[in-house]
């Protein structure tokens, strides 16, 4: 029973297309995140939502738009995809432990833009 699940796991698409990655967590956490792991293997935060409200928005092109319909879901929509968007995108959540620190990740979505 996957705690943080994201779909699709693999996505190959052409430049200029619009695509979405969905994420759901069943941990009852209040905070959800999107992280991106680029070709240099760095994991960097993109967005964070707490109870459906945006709380962290790093310097990300506005082609990337997160949407949180409820606190268990945080979807990532990407418009006008570019070659440089090719990366692994990880959804994550936190809030279950008393300190609220530990972040749990999904398995990742491998996006390839051709």
């Amino acid at each position: 029973d996957t705690a943080v699940s994201q779909t699709p796991k693999y996505l190959v698409t052409q430049m200029g297309n619009d695509k979405s990655i969905k994420c759901e967590q069943n941990l009852g956490h209040d905070t959800m995140y999107w992280y991106k792991q680029d070709s240099k293997k760095f994991l960097k935060i993109m967005f964070s939502y707490n109870n459906k409200e945006l709380i962290i928005n790093e310097t990300v092109p506005n082609r990337f738009s997160p949407k949180s319909p409820d606190k268990a879901h945080l979807n990532l929509h990407i418009n006008s995809l570019e070659l440089g968007d090719s990366a692994v995108y990880f959804c994550a959540s936190s809030g279950g432990d008393p300190a609220g620190n530990t972040i749990y990740f999904g398995e990742g979505s491998w996006l390839t833009v051709v």
């Binding site: 293997k41 994991l43 936190s94 300190a99 999904g106 990742g108």
Partner: protein
Amino acid sequence: DQQVKQNSPSLSVQEGRISILNCDYTNSMFDYFLWYKKYPAEGPTFLISISSIKDKNEDGRFTVFLNKSAKHLSLHIVPSQPGDSAVYFCAAQPGANSKLTFGKGITLSVRP
């Protein structure tokens, strides 16, 4: 601007020996540190953490040491097992539910 640095890209150890993975940070606002383990084609999995009020936290074969004055932490795995072979990410954050800043990761190989 790397605030969390894992300067060694890889480490190879013999099964049964100790693995020591190092991590340095520059941001003095960080007060919580975590280690994540990642297998290929999977997401990072939480391994162990330490708060800045402690200098050591132990969980089974895994121990994390924190030296705040040196802004340095390390993960010790004793004894190392082949199943420990993975990429290990050091991460830090300035508070609960705040942005987690990751190092680049270190690939650990445990030889049978």
